[in-house]
Symmetry: C2
C-alpha cells in the first residue's frame, strides 16, 4: 500500500488571483516528487504546502504559455542555493529546451546540478519500476500535452484457502509467491497464479493541461482514478472557451463521465470566479457527481479502487 | 499634502520563504505607481496587497539576479490580459533589455501595450514635475544600482502677518503667490519670497538594492526620509555578507546613522531568520533607533519632516 498524493499548488489559469496561484500540481509517490506544470510562484507554494525538494524530482510541462512555465528558473535557482547535487528532469513539448535556456540566461545565476531537459511528444515518456508516464495531445491554441501517470499493477491477493490446501506454511514462501516468484515446495512446482488472484490495476491520474474537451484525453482517461481537467469557464462562456482553447466545467464533467473516472478535479479556474465559483461545480455535478474544484493546497490521497 | 506610500511586496532575499516573497517594493505617489525590483511572485503580491495596475507605472530594477527580475514577464502578461493600453517603463542596468527580451521570448505570449526599456547607469534617470529619480552604483557581486526617489521641494508657507500687513486680500492673489508667481497689487510688485517662507524640501526615499555598505549610497541617502537597505545577515555572518556582496543589519544601521536618515527599513532578509529575526533588529537598533524590519505588505506613509 503506497501513498499516492496529489497536492494542488496553483489552480488559477492565465493570471493569478488572491486565492489561486498559477498552475502547478504536485504528485508525491514513493519518495518521489512529480510536478505537472510550474507557473510563477510554484517554489513558494511548495514551501507553503510543505512539499520538500525531493531527490527524485521530475517536472512535466504541458505547454509553453507563460503561466505554466515561469516558475521554473526561480525554482532551479533556489534548489541550487540549497546545494542540490541531484539532477532534475524536465519534460515538455518541443521548444521547452530553448524556453528554459532563455529563462536561465535572462538572469544572472547558475545551477551546479545536472539539468536534463527532454523535448517529448505523444507516447510513453517514462517507465520506472513503479509507474509510467504517457503523454497525449490535448487541443489548445498551441501544442499542449496531457499527461497520464499510471502506477504499475499490484500483485494479486494471496488466496489463503488455496495455500492451506497445498500445505504451504506461512512465511518466506508466501512472500515469494506474492512477489510473483515460482517456488518448489516438497518437489512440487507451484506457480504464483495458482495461489493469488490476478494482478490488480494500479492507480491512474490524468492531467489534461490546457485543452478543449477531446477524444484523446477521453481515451487515455478511461477508468482513471483521478482526472484533473481544464475547467476555465462556466457554460454561459462556452463560446469563449471554444475560442481560447479551454473547457467549461460541464465539458470537463462530460469527459469524466464518458471516461468513467472515479474522481474529477476542475482545474485552471478563471479569476472571474474568485468570489463565487459555485456555478462551475453546480454545472459539472449535473452530469458527474464525484467532482470538486481544485483549490490551492487541497490535498487528495488517491485510494485504491475497491 | 500628497500621500507618499511605501508598500513592501516581497522582503526576502535570494529565495522566498513562507513569510516573505521575493524582492519588490511599491511606491504610490500622486496616482503613480513605482516598483523597485520585481521578483517572482510580484504580480500576486500586488493583488494581495491591493495595489492596482496604475496607468502611470514604472519599474526600476537594481540588478539582474533572478530573484529581482523573474516577476517581470508574468506581470506584463497579466496586464495584457487585463487589456492594458498604456505603456510601461522599465529601467535597469545594462543587460536589462536583453534579459526582458529573453524572458518574454521564453514563453509563448504577447503584450500589445508599448514596453519601454531603458538601460541606465549612474545619474539622473527621470525627472517629472513632481519628483526625480537618481541612480547610483551599489557594491554587489555584480553591477547593482541603488535608487533615490526625491519629491520636488514644496513651496514655502504663506506668512499671514506679512500678507495682512501689505493689505493683500485672501483669495486668488494669495494662490498666485503661494505657487511662486509674482503679482502686481495696486501698482506694487510683490515677489513670492516676500510673503512666503523658503521652499521646503520634498521627501526622499533611497533603496539600496543588493549591496555592501558603501560611500555612494551613504552620500545619496543624506537626510533621506526613508532608507531601505540590504540587511541580509546578522553580525555573526559579516564575513558571509562580505563574500556575497550583502550587508548586515548593523552595517545598514551604521549607514542610516551616518546619513542621518529619518527611518531605516531592513530589507532582503535571509530565510534563515524566518522564525526569529529579532537579532537583526536588536543589532541595528544599537546604533540606529528608528529602524524596522520590512515585512511583506507592511505599508509606510512617509510623513513630511517637521
Amino acid at each position: 500500500m503506497s501513498n499516492l498524493k496529489i497536492i494542488f499548488l496553483g489552480t488559477s489559469g492565465g493570471m493569478p488571483s488572491k486565492r489561486r496561484s498559477l498552475p502547478s500540481i504536485a504528485i508525491k509517490y514513493e519518495g518521489e516528487l512529480i510536478l505537472f506544470d510550474c507557473g510563477e510562484g510554484t517554489q513558494r507554494q511548495m514551501l507553503l504546502g510543505k512539499i520538500g525538494f525531493k531527490k527524485d524530482f521530475k517536472i512535466f510541462i504541458s505547454h509553453l504559455h507563460g503561466d505554466h512555465i515561469l516558475g521554473i528558473p526561480g525554482l532551479l535557482y533556489t534548489m541550487n542555493m540549497l546545494d542540490r547535487k541531484y539532477s532534475i528532469q524536465i519534460f515538455g513539448p518541443k521548444g521547452i529546451k530553448d524556453s528554459i535556456e532563455k529563462l536561465m540566461n535572462a538572469s544572472i545565476g547558475k545551477i551546479d546540478f545536472p539539468l536534463e531537459i527532454y523535448e517529448i511528444d505523444e507516447g510513453n515518456i517514462l517507465e520506472t519500476k513503479k509507474y509510467s508516464i504517457k503523454a497525449i495531445n490535448g487541443n489548445h491554441v498551441i501544442k499542449s500535452l496531457a499527461y497520464c501517470f499510471e502506477e504499475k499493477p499490484r500483485p494479486g491477493k494471496m488466496i489463503i484457502e488455496k495455500l492451506k490446501e497445498l500445505g504451504i506454511p506461512r512465511g518466506p514462501l508466501w512472500g515469494k509467491l506474492q512477489r510473483g516468484e515460482t517456488i518448489n515446495f516438497k518437489g512440487r512446482i507451484i506457480y504464483p497464479n495458482e495461489v493469488t488472484t490476478p494482478p490488480r490495476p494500479g492507480r491512474k491520474i490524468v492531467y489534461s493541461g490546457d485543452t478543449r474537451p477531446c477524444e484523446k484525453i477521453l481515451n487515455i482517461a478511461k477508468n482513471a482514478d483521478v482526472l484533473i481537467h481544464d475547467s476555465s469557464f462556466d457554460d454561459s462562456l462556452k463560446n469563449k472557451a471554444f475560442e481560447e482553447g479551454h473547457s467549461t466545467s460541464l465539458e470537463a464533467a462530460n469527459i469524466a463521465k464518458e471516461a468513467n473516472v472515479s474522481k474529477l478535479f476542475l482545474f485552471h479556474i478563471s479569476p472571474r470566479y474568485e468570489k463565487d465559483d459555485s456555478i462551475l461545480l453546480k454545472e459539472a455535478r449535473k452530469v458527474f457527481q464525484n467532482c470538486e474544484i481544485a483549490e490551492d493546497f487541497l490535498t487528495y490521497e488517491v485510494p485504491y479502487k475497491k
